[in-house]
Subunit: 158 residues, 2 copies
């Protein structure tokens, strides 16, 4: 388990997709503009997300990306492990021979700690993120500027 900006970009992008599930697929150029990222870099992130079965691409004009599963079945942990290929956290690559052929202090401790961390992030689904007030507010503000104006927005903030 690893946390970096890469994972954050991916989570934000996936959230973007989740906010537009009822509309047409979202093209990467749109997300790239929104996040201030290069198209090609985003493509690389989405290539991994696609290989992990989190999104599906639709080619040709009017195409873009869609969530491959309902937002209730995609967790933040899913997304992060998809893009930040998890470096094995133990020095001995899980063999347990880190210290003179025995397990070192790090071994059990850290694998366990990162398991707990994973479970925590796995308990947060995209759907839960979408329902957060802060997200609703920003999404509402963005909607008028975006190409999907009027689809679904406006009444969420109150």
């Amino acid at each position: 388990m690893k946390l970096s900006t890469k994972g954050r970009y991916a989570v934000t992008a996936m959230l973007d997709l989740a906010l537009h599930t009822h509309a047409r697929p979202v093209p990467l150029t749109e997300i790239a503009n929104g996040q201030g990222l290069s198209l090609s870099y985003l493509e690389q992130l989405f290539a991994r997300l696609r290989r992990c079965g989190l999104v599906e691409g639709v080619r040709g004009p009017g195409g873009g990306y869609r969530l491959a599963r309902p937002a209730t079945e995609i967790s933040v942990a899913d997304i992060i492990t998809a893009v930040d290929e998890n470096v094995d956290v133990t020095r001995c690559a899980g063999r347990g021979d880190c210290q003179d052929g025995e397990r070192c202090l790090t071994h059990d401790l850290w694998t366990d700690l990162s398991r707990q961390l994973y479970e925590f992030l796995d308990s947060i689904t995209l759907e839960r993120l979408v329902r957060r007030p802060a997200v609703q507010e920003v999404a509402g503000r963005q909607e008028p500027r975006s190409l999907h104006a009027g689809v679904d927005a406006g009444k969420t903030v109150a």
Copy 2:
């Protein structure tokens, strides 16, 4: 909040100290051997731990490092933030002007997510780690080989 091998080394080293609180200070050479790290690299980690008030150094022969506070008052989050100076997770450095002068989707979402993560790691104290069965077991096995043989060891495992 950032998670890397650096933080893991620091946590393990601090755990090492916590296991020897009743004995004399622990010299870095010992920890370096145990973890297979270079002395100088460990020194750099401990310089930060010291600046953050987590450990105190004792100079001269017979010297080494000690916890500066009881193990009940040092959390994993304390240690990690001490060595992995927290890169600001938001693109806009907390100013909130990431997207056209407004807050982007990432902003509130990620600061909040990393706050929760911090709280989780902050809830785990060194003392709690010391009491873990896996740690007790490894510590018991290491004790006879260490320089502190007989000081305090042997009775901890049961």
